[in-house]
């Protein structure tokens, strides 16, 4: 049974549709991400759930109750903003206490809950500081504590980690996930960072141009993208044009000079199709053993792996190879490119908007 339910939620600003027919079910305790590029409608959706933006159409149900027309201050939803939106004139503890004050929670209980929550986010020693005296990561935690202290049925995170530097962001991802599991609050996060969405969420909602494109578990969204948009937005990929050709009465795929069998060629609408092969599913070999032949144009060292750009008849290919401590292939070398049959995905062209 779903805890938060969006029913064909739509928001129009004049002629432009910011969010179109968003339908989504989120179970209790689930961590779901809205993932998409800027302007895809993810923030608008979040703002409608929070009650800051009035939907043009559709309904929002929380725990079976229609909250579509409820005021933001009646919904009791906890929100962490991208800018953290801390109250600069209040100390950390006063920030955290604010929601309890509004609920007229008795002093001793509110005191206990504030210190519990600050301990949860690891800030129990900084209660008397002002936000301006804290680092970005600490402010982030205050914002989280302030939202969690009211024990909200639903936690909304609006690009919560985008203002942190890369190293800190990774640590906070792990911590955010731990805290969410510990508290068990149903959580909806908005992000444009696919790695953040993949690593934190139980399910990812990929959005583009105001529409939901795919709702899936992170692994499936990455491995079985619905269309060209998802495959290129969630992770890196090689998007390649291929043709369906006939070989000995059998339909096959032709990619550059390579013709190969593909199990599900039946039912394809057109002869020209889009393929996706992830860079880590391609292998480099000598020119006699590759399915495609190409030449190394660029080579980048990325620490734990190498990124190659290969020119081939099928187009430019990105290939990542794990770093095993030695380097055999250099720029300008002729190489063969090889892949396993199950690495290939046939994609639909994106068709919405």
């Amino acid at each position: 049974m779903s805890f938060l339910r969006l029913e064909s939620l739509t928001k129009q600003y004049g002629a432009t549709t910011a969010a179109k027919n968003i339908t989504l079910d989120i179970a209790k305790g689930e961590f779901v991400s809205l993932l998409g590029p800027s302007g895809c409608g993810k923030t608008t959706t979040l703002q409608m759930i929070a009650g800051f933006v009035e939907p043009t159409q559709g309904r929002i149900l929380m725990d079976g109750v229609n909250i579509t027309n409820q005021k933001a201050n009646q919904r009791g939803i906890g929100i962490v903003f991208q800018s953290y939106a801390l109250f600069p004139h209040m100390t950390v503890a006063e920030n955290a206490r604010f929601g309890l004050e509004m609920r007229r929670v008795p002093v001793d209980e509110s005191h206990r809950r504030v210190s519990e929550t600050l301990e949860l986010v690891g800030l129990d020693h900084l209660g008397d500081r002002y936000p301006r005296e804290l680092s970005g990561g600490q402010r982030q935690r205050v914002a989280l504590a302030r939202a969690l202290v009211i024990r909200p049925p639903l936690l909304l995170l609006d690009e919560p980690l985008s203002n942190l530097d890369a190293k800190l962001r990774e640590n906070m991802q792990i911590e955010l996930r731990n805290i969410q599991q510990q508290v068990g609050t149903t959580t909806l996060m908005v992000t444009h960072d696919q790695s953040e969405a993949l690593s934190l969420s139980d399910r990812v909602v990929v959005m583009n141009q105001g529409c939901v494109v795919q709702v899936d578990e992170p692994f499936n969204a990455y491995e079985q993208p619905n269309d060209t948009f998802v495959s290129s937005f969630v992770g890196k990929t090689n998007l390649l044009s291929a043709q369906v050709v006939n070989r000995n009465g059998q339909p096959c795929l032709r990619l550059g000079e390579c013709i190969f069998d593909f199990p599900v060629t039946a039912g394809l609408e057109s002869d020209d199709i889009k393929l996706s092969i992830r860079p880590e599913r391609l292998e480099l070999t000598d020119i006699h053993h590759g399915q495609l032949i190409g030449r190394v144009r660029t080579r980048l060292f990325l620490g734990n792996h190498w990124l190659y750009q290969i020119e081939s008849n099928a187009g430019d290919l990105l290939v990542t190879l794990p770093n095993h401590g030695f380097m055999a292939i250099g720029v300008g070398d002729d190489v063969g490119v090889r892949w396993q049959p199950d690495a290939v995905r046939i994609l639909k062209e994106q068709a919405y908007g």
């Binding site: 903003f81 939106a85 109250f87 600069p88 004139h89 604010f98 009211i150």
Partner: protein, 264 residues
């Protein structure tokens, strides 16, 4: 750390000297024992400071100016807050017109305003009263308060208000507990600037004030129109000292840059 070049340093020094030298001269002249404005003087004397006490008109005028400045600055700040919130945050018909209206007193010569207020106040029969003076001052100091309050409203992160809403505050509580404290530096800066402008204003007030509501600048002007004696210097010195003390206290309590520039 040497941030200024030699030329810049020279320029700054000259600038500061040029700014402070007249004040120094006034202070020195105030200690003259003579009956006329002169420097260097033949000795040091507190004669002209005692003379202030013998001129209750000056003391009355000082308090008039204080009350007037406090009342006008406070009223203008109270009016500027909702006005700035509306103008900065909402698009509505006549918005630009309203901004121009609020800022227009800056562009009209105060003498012209003074004449206009004089005839207007006489016509409706409140000429020379304290409320009339306050009203006139509110109008001329409004641009200063508006500018600073608008700047602070503009610079405020609105998601803090959304956060307060989501935590269960009513709109009024959001304003009282979040919006107002967050724009307060701008409001305070506007208030101080408005107060100073009001306290200092002569060319319009001279038309609007009556003998019972004479302000300090008007009193001083009237005084030197008749006699030029060092009394004017000693009154000025007292004002300079009061202002300096006020600035020191303000800086200690809040930090001057915070109040005057509205720095968070």
């Amino acid at each position: 750390m040497q941030r200024n070049g030699k030329f810049a340093l020279l320029f700054h020094s000259l600038f500061v000297v040029f700014l402070l030298a007249p004040l120094v001269v006034v202070v020195l002249v105030a200690f003259t024992p003579n009956g006329y404005l002169s420097y260097p003087t033949s000795g040091l004397s507190l004669r002209w400071f005692k003379a202030i006490l013998d001129n209750p008109a000056f003391i009355r005028a000082f308090w008039n100016s204080m009350y007037l400045g406090i009342a006008a600055a406070t009223i203008s700040a109270v009016l500027a807050i909702p006005a700035a919130l509306a103008i900065v945050r909402y698009q509505f018909r006549g918005r630009d017109g309203l901004v121009s209206l609020f800022l227009s007193p800056l562009m009209i010569p105060h003498v012209v305003l003074g004449v206009a207020f004089l005839s207007f106040f006489s016509r409706i029969g409140i000429y020379g009263s304290f409320p009339a003076l306050v009203a006139a001052h509110v109008i001329i100091i409004m641009p200063y308060t508006m500018r600073l309050v608008m700047a602070s409203v503009f610079g405020m992160d609105r998601s803090a208000e959304q956060a307060a809403l989501s935590l269960g505050s009513s709109q009024w509580t959001v304003f009282r507990r979040v919006t107002l404290p967050m724009i307060l530096p701008g409001v305070a800066g506007g208030w101080v600037l408005a107060f100073t402008t009001s306290f200092d204003e002569l060319s319009m007030t001279i038309f609007v004030a009556s003998p019972s509501t004479t302000t300090l600048p008007v009193q001083m002007y009237n005084h030197i129109a008749h006699t030029i004696d060092p009394l004017i210097a000693s009154v000025s010195t007292v004002l300079i000292v009061i202002t300096a003390l006020f600035m020191v206290v303000l800086d200690r309590l809040y930090g001057l840059d915070k109040v005057l520039i509205g720095k968070g």
